[in-house]
């Protein structure tokens, strides 16, 4: 029985050839094989969000994604958010408004925030969206929407209020891109 395969992973615009254990999660492949230690392992079972990355622009928990299943996707980690060393507005807002303390949940919060802004702009409702009909208006992004949509990302330091401020401020200024 083959337990390993050679695959290509495209991470932050760079393609890597890797021979991987089929059990290897995308999170472990990023961290252990590619040295992208920005994504963090908080639980390894999809319950904390620290490992959140973007897969073709959509947020996924990389600890519950097998690396071999991510072949062919555009993977963006926190290391790929700042283009050419320029912090994205959401990153800058996190620093300025103190949207973290220990920083361990931060890469997940940031990737999640970027993915979430795109989801909402695309008209995806959340559990607190008033009008969920297909032709309803795009939900107003208020604190309740942000909190609901970001609840998969735990922060034990309790940086939540600052994170919500940072996201709302960024969304108001820079729209969907974060």
């Amino acid at each position: 029985m083959t337990t390993r395969s050679t695959i290509s992973l495209r991470v932050n615009d760079v393609t890597h050839r890797l021979c991987l254990d089929h059990r290897r999660t995308l999170l472990d492949a990023l961290r252990e094989d590619l040295g992208h230690t920005g994504p963090k392992k908080g639980c390894d079972q999809g319950q904390c969000g620290a490992c959140t990355v973007l897969l073709d622009g959509r947020r996924v928990v990389s600890c519950l994604t097998l690396a071999v299943a991510a072949e062919g996707a555009e993977i963006t980690t926190v290391e790929g958010l700042a283009a050419d060393g320029e912090l994205r507005p959401i990153q800058e807002a996190f620093v300025r408004l103190d949207g973290f303390q220990c920083g361990y949940c931060t890469s997940g919060q940031l990737c999640s925030a970027v993915g979430m802004l795109a989801e909402r702009a695309a008209g995806w409702p959340s559990a607190v969206t008033a009008d969920v009909s297909p032709d309803g208006p795009v939900a107003e992004l208020d604190a309740a929407e942000v909190r609901e949509r970001m609840s998969g990302n735990l922060c034990r330091c309790g940086a939540y209020p600052s994170i919500v401020h940072a996201i709302l401020e960024t969304a108001a200024r820079d729209g969907v891109t974060g």
């Binding site: 059990r23 252990e32 908080g42 996190f94 303390q101 970001m150 209020p161």
Partner: protein, 691 residues
């Protein structure tokens, strides 16, 4: 040095120095360090609560792919039984030394393999059989095994005649309050990588005090302290859970010794719950007697909590009871019950978090029975000196916190009768709590070196758990040296720097700042040395005897859904007196984080044990919920002017105080909303519905 007037960095709101590294993923935590030729260890935990290991069938996994070997009690290096913690010898550290199982979740083997998957697969496949013995994991006051706690701090008090004063009181509250086992649950699971460099044991480990951890590790492995070095770059939160020399480090050091190569042991989330440390469950009784006008006559606070026979521990629940209110008679006692559980240890606001829930709930009950505004009840019983010690307070600004908090919260218009307000289907209520947390400093060593390029290297074995220690100490060093922060190069988180207190007990910043300030004074002194090292042990001994505490007042508004029993916090406000604030931006974040911890304690957190097996049944974030985004409203926190005379920079420490009081304020608000007291945490839906 430039002659320009130095503009101070202390007191200025600045983003964290490491902010950019943390938002770009560049900041390295213990499990992120690239180390060549790494092997990986996976733990095997006992699944029974008490007994002996009959057999571990190592042969059946030895040939699994990648497995290098298994360490268990038959082949582990012998550890020094004298190794301990702050409270004395600690059997919790003596891993794999015998076949005894003191609690479910005790590590009984480490499987080491070439990859994490291989190690985990073999650990899961490893057959273990046990000889089980009956266990006892149920805490209650009056348990026959109960005995007095150590008296290292929060020693029993007994002033005045409590029984006579209670008998003479117009109103008496006599109630029991309970809090469950809770887990620190830092988002970063504990991780250690250990290896030998010649005859020196090196380790990268996520912990709250590298010097103390290295010292303990050296003791355990019979090594002179200078042959053990423990360091780390960033730490993903601690909250008390990384205070001790953790199983990840002890087992990684064992494996590095046995296999002669670097070994990394990173705990799974379940292992963090089952094998690191927890806040003990408490069962507390409070009796308060007062005159009809609310003046206190007596406070009696008996707190019972659980420990493990492996180690002593003090959950100082009654510290506030000796601090907050004047009364002619005060009696406190701490009783420990040794049970077959994971040894408890400090979790954020140790003692004060469960203790204040009991005391401040009881005060609210007293206000109700006397028919007095709970705010006025506190103001009426403000003491002039330490109620038990008779010592003056170094500074005490609780009244300022209460008054300013009440003003901002809009307390004056509160109708104190319960169950009077609705918002749609919800019952609305508000509550408050007053708090204190003791402050102080511990001996530490700092070294400052004036570099040829005009910068200063400031070295202290501090740890930045996310508290902002890097940023705060840089500001302090800059001001102490009267230079800009850009000329400070701070080195922390390395045991090789020298002895220093860890990040804990709300004493980190004060302890470290003191040493840095003294070293800076030497550098700027008449001899102008290029390098200066200071140990503050002597200076601390000279500090005047005072009651030293941070204070705060917390106000909460909740909405309770009578149909579902769900409690949601709608508003939360804290006013804090924490000495001089070094960096208002970070300090505010820290106390808000503490208040969220208190909210989480009030409504969500509960380590649930199956009484039949003695095991925790919710050792993950699905079963053990910690407050998430949707649970947390916008929170207001601010500081009243305060100072701490005798301590450099007037620092008191902000680490724990944020956690204190929030649970009581929320519970009191739930009473105000529903008319029913919640004396057991967390305030679960079923508890609200049943009442």
């Amino acid at each position: 040095m430039s002659m320009a007037v130095h503009v101070g960095a202390v007191g200025v709101a600045r983003p964290r120095i490491e902010g950019r590294a943390k938002v770009t993923g560049a900041a390295r935590y213990a499990a992120d360090e690239p180390i060549p030729d790494l092997a990986y260890g996976a733990l095997v935990l006992a699944t029974v609560a008490r007994g002996r290991v009959r057999d571990i069938d190592v042969a059946s996994v030895r040939d699994m792919p990648g497995v290098l070997g298994v360490i268990d009690h038959t082949n582990a290096p012998r550890l020094n039984p004298e190794a301990g913690n702050f409270f004395g010898p600690d059997g919790g550290l003596r891993l794999l030394q015998d076949d005894l199982i003191p609690h479910a979740g005790r590590p009984i083997a480490l499987v080491v393999a070439e990859t994490p998957e291989q190690a985990r697969a073999a650990a899961q496949a490893l057959p273990v059989t046990y000889d089980e013995q009956p266990h006892d994991t149920r805490l209650f006051a009056g348990h026959p095994a109960g005995r007095p706690a150590l008296t290292l701090f929060d020693a029993p008090a007994d002033i005045g005649d409590v029984d006579a004063e209670l008998a003479a009181s117009a109103v008496v509250v006599d109630e029991r309050y309970g809090t469950p086992e809770e887990n620190c649950s830092a988002m970063e699971p504990h991780s250690a990588t250990a290896w030998w460099e010649g005859d020196r044991l090196e380790a990268v480990d996520s912990n709250q005090g590298p010097f103390q951890i290295a010292f303990t590790l050296a003791t355990l492995f019979h090594l002179p302290p200078e042959r053990v070095r423990v360091r780390v770059d960033h730490i993903g939160g601690g909250f008390g859970g990384k205070t001790m020399c953790g199983p990840q480090l002890i087992l990684a050091a064992m494996a590095a010794t046995r296999f002669g190569r670097p070994v990394r042991v990173t705990l799974t989330r379940a292992e963090v719950f089952l094998a690191t440390a927890q806040r003990p469950a408490t069962d507390q009784r409070i009796r308060i007697g007062a005159d009809a006008d609310g003046r206190l006559r007596a406070i009696h606070h008996d707190a019972t909590y659980e420990i493990s026979p492996l180690a002593e521990y003090i959950e100082g629940c009654t510290e506030l009871t000796k601090t907050l209110y004047a009364a002619p008679a005060i009696r406190t006692a701490l009783t420990v019950v040794p049970l077959d559980i994971l040894p408890p240890y400090s979790m954020r606001a140790p003692g004060a978090a469960p203790g204040s829930f009991a005391l401040e709930s009881a005060m609210d009950e007293l206000a109700e029975r006397v028919g007095l505004d709970p705010l006025e009840l506190r103001l009426r019983n403000e003491p002039g000196v330490g109620p038990v010690s008779g010592l003056p307070f170094s500074s005490r600004n609780l009244v300022a916190c209460l008054r300013e908090g009440a003003r901002r919260f809009g307390w004056a218009s509160r109708d104190h009768r319960p169950r009077m307000r609705r918002a749609g289907p919800l019952l609305i209520g508000t509550g408050l709590a007053a708090t204190s947390f003791s402050t102080g400093a511990f001996p530490s060593t700092a070294t400052i070196t004036a570099e040829p390029d005009g910068t200063f290297t400031v070295a202290i074995a501090a740890a930045d758990l996310g508290t902002g220690a890097r940023t705060a100490l840089t500001a302090i060093a800059a001001d102490a040296l009267a230079v800009g922060t850009d000329r400070i190069r701070l080195r922390i988180s390395d045991s090789a720097i020298g002895p220093a207190w860890g990040a804990g007990g709300s004493r980190g910043t004060a302890s470290w700042a003191w040493a840095i300030t003294e070293a800076a004074a030497k550098i700027r002194g008449p001899e102008r040395p290029m390098t200066a090292t200071v140990d503050t042990t002597q200076l601390l001994g000279d500090l005047a005897s005072r009651e030293r505490h941070a204070f705060s007042a917390v106000f909460a508004e909740v909405g309770v859904d009578p149909a579902t029993g769900e409690v949601r916090v709608r508003r939360l406000l804290g006013m804090f007196a924490v000495g001089r604030v070094i960096n208002p931006l970070m300090a505010r974040s820290q106390v808000i984080g503490g208040m969220i911890g208190g909210l989480s304690m009030a409504l969500h957190e509960e380590g649930v044990r199956d009484p039949v097996t003695g095991r925790h049944v919710n050792a993950d974030f699905a079963g053990y919920h910690i407050a998430a985004h949707a649970d947390v409203p916008d929170i207001e926190a601010d500081f009243v002017p305060d100072d701490e005379p005798g301590v450099p920079w007037g620092i008191k420490g902000v680490g724990e105080i944020g956690n204190v009081g929030t649970a009581a304020a929320i519970a009191n608000a739930v009473w105000h909303a529903t008319g029913v007291r919640q004396r057991h945490l967390p305030i679960r839906l079923d508890r609200v519905l049943e009442s």
